[in-house]
């Protein structure tokens, strides 16, 4: 009973501040721009193979399904937004010193953190729905404008979308774990942006150059997420080995990162004296 009330309060905390819809708008704009834009480019490239040949050596792998590739932009590009949402749900309490009223209302701290984990899992899934709605709308519009297959009549495409929504949900829990480990809001945001936009892409690219490192590289959270979803622009961008985990393995990797970080954070910074 206490747990359900605490979860409801965590949802209320998110929806009574502006951050969630600011992030949602950015997510939509970002995904629409990339999925729609890349879709239009691909459509043009397919229609004018000779001209595309001259533009930066673009060679589409044969037999690739354009639809799922475009739709997966929702998670392969948009995953930073649920991470931020989850991290801010935790760090905001430290930053605004609202832990005092929070812990007075719910004195059992693990209940509070667990409530954040659950509510962010659901909100991350919501972000996933928004992101995939955007990428499917933008991508399919671009593809059908050039008369290409959208893949939307294929149940595999919808399974991919479902796995993508799950990935976004798990990313939000990774944000919760990160926030519990790094309660400083500015530091947490810098870590999220630096890791997702810079460090991990380079690590993935670097790891893929060698067979041994490629084995390790597939456990990077971004790679695990792409494995869970089952399609990513990385699969055409990567050089060398492009080995990935099975989709369920990728899901377990994401789940483990979020859960372990949340548990460690919950046992350390979250238990400190609130002064």
């Amino acid at each position: 009973m206490t747990v359900f009330r605490s979860i409801a309060a965590e949802f209320q905390k998110v929806f009574t501040t502006r951050m969630w819809w600011l992030l949602a708008i950015l997510l939509v704009v970002y995904v629409l721009f990339l999925a729609g834009g890349f879709g239009a480019f691909l459509g043009w490239a397919v229609e004018n193979p000779d001209a595309a040949e001259n533009v930066g050596n673009t060679q589409l792998p044969p037999g690739i399904q354009l639809g799922p590739l475009l739709y997966s932009f929702a998670s392969s590009i948009g995953y930073v937004f649920p991470v931020l949402l989850g991290a801010l749900a935790v760090t905001g309490e430290f930053r605004h010193k609202t832990l005092t009223p929070t812990f007075l209302a719910v004195p059992h701290r693990s209940v509070v953190l667990g409530s954040k984990y659950v509510s962010e899992l659901v909100l991350g899934a919501g972000f996933g729905v928004i992101a995939f709605a955007t990428s499917v709308a933008g991508g399919a519009a671009a593809l059908s404008a050039f008369g290409l297959e959208t893949g939307l009549d294929d149940s595999d495409t919808w399974a991919l979308i479902g796995r993508g929504v799950l990935a976004m949900a798990l990313w939000a829990t990774i944000g919760v774990g990160l926030g519990a480990l790094v309660p400083n809001q500015v530091a947490a945001i810098v870590i999220v942006l630096a890791f997702t936009q810079f460090v991990e892409p380079i690590l993935r690219l670097g790891a893929s150059l060698n067979d041994v490192t490629a084995q390790i590289g597939q456990y990077l959270p971004g790679a695990a997420s792409d494995a869970l979803v089952g399609a990513s622009f990385y699969t055409i961008a990567s050089v060398g080995s492009s080995e990935t985990l099975d989709w369920w393995q990728g899901g377990l990797v994401l789940l483990a990162i979020g859960a372990v970080a949340t548990i460690i954070g919950g046992a350390t910074t979250w238990r400190r004296d609130v002064t």
Binding site: A8, Q12, T17, L104, P107, H108, D273, V274
Partner: protein, 314 residues
């Protein structure tokens, strides 16, 4: 309303690294009375209250509500209402702030407008807290404590930042809460701030208990003194020296460390000095308070502890 429960602090100590903030502190706060929790800044008041509320872990000893620790209370907000600092998420409105915690504690939504009216904030219910003045934040903190209609209220420096009208209002308000049988514990670094509204006092200094009990017992602390004035202060000073009395210059005359004006008058008579004034002054409560807590507290500004006002979004 939940019943008033005594607050029991027993052998409480809290160390932050090498610093001992609270040192073997024991006292009891009774229901139906307003108790002032007094001490200079840094005496350990806030730390004690935070331990009591389960926000800071004690190094040793216990702090309970009738024997039950805060975290073990079945319905904490409906048993104890506490206001420790006036910090809020600046993006939420006053109403939203309270509604979030009403949800968390399972308190009916109807309490939110009710408590906002009680503290006089109902017209600002829909305004973002980021734009609130310190006085309005203090009132919102107080509204939070009243959400669950608790039998125990724990307020840390609730008078800080209030205007004179607000101070008058909160004094009456605390009294009325105690009259209903609630336990009311109010901390302050200035006795004069709360002396009109408290029944009992618990005075600490450097983390240790100095005195606790009804406010009336505090008055014995410092003896009354004698004020004496003369048209010829130099000769009066000589006469006081002659009689072996300790004195200090004050205004036009002297403040003599002697409760009996007769002895001072006699000294002047012996010295052949004309007097223009001779009377006894009672020691002020603040004086006896300061003498109790020692120089550790009276030095420096009895200032206002920094409170963040404004604050940025997110």
């Amino acid at each position: 309303m939940a019943a008033g429960i005594p607050i029991e602090v027993t052998g409480l100590s809290k160390r932050f690294g090498p610093v001992t903030a609270v040192d073997d502190l024991s006292f009891t706060v009774r229901p139906g009375r307003v108790t002032g929790f007094l001490g200079p800044n840094g005496a350990g008041k806030t730390t004690t209250l935070r331990v009591l509320l389960g926000l800071v872990r004690a190094s040793s000893g216990t702090a309970t509500f009738g024997g039950t620790r805060y975290r073990d209370l079945p319905r904490p907000l409906e048993t104890v209402g506490a206001a420790l600092d006036a910090n809020f998420h600046p993006g939420r409105t006053a109403k939203q702030h309270l509604a979030v915690y009403a949800t968390a504690a399972g308190i009916p939504k109807s309490r939110v407008p009710a408590v906002l009216t009680m503290v006089g904030l109902s017209e600002f219910a829909g305004r973002r807290v980021g734009g609130f003045s310190l006085g309005m934040r203090q009132r919102l903190s107080l509204a939070y404590t009243l959400l669950g209609d608790p039998g125990v209220l724990v307020l840390d420096e609730p008078i800080n930042g209030l205007d004179p009208e607000g101070i008058k209002w909160i004094r009456g308000f605390l009294q009325s809460l105690a009259k209903e049988g609630r336990t009311v514990l109010v901390s302050s670094h200035l006795l004069s701030e709360v002396q009109q509204s408290v029944d009992d006092v618990v005075i600490i200094s450097r983390g240790r208990l100095v005195r606790s009990g009804p406010l009336s017992t505090l008055q014995i602390g410092a003896a009354p003194r004698t004020v004496v004035e003369s048209p010829d202060p130099l000769r009066l000073a000589a006469a006081l020296d002659q009689a072996g009395l300790e004195y200090a210059e004050e205004g036009a005359g002297f403040l003599v460390e002697e409760p009996d004006p007769g002895r001072v008058g006699h000294a002047a008579f012996v010295g052949g000095v004309e007097l223009s004034a001779l009377h006894q002054v009672a020691a002020g409560l603040e004086d006896s308070f300061l003498s109790l807590v020692g120089d550790g507290g009276s030095e420096g500004t009895p200032g206002i502890e920094p409170v963040r006002v404004g604050g940025e979004e997110r």
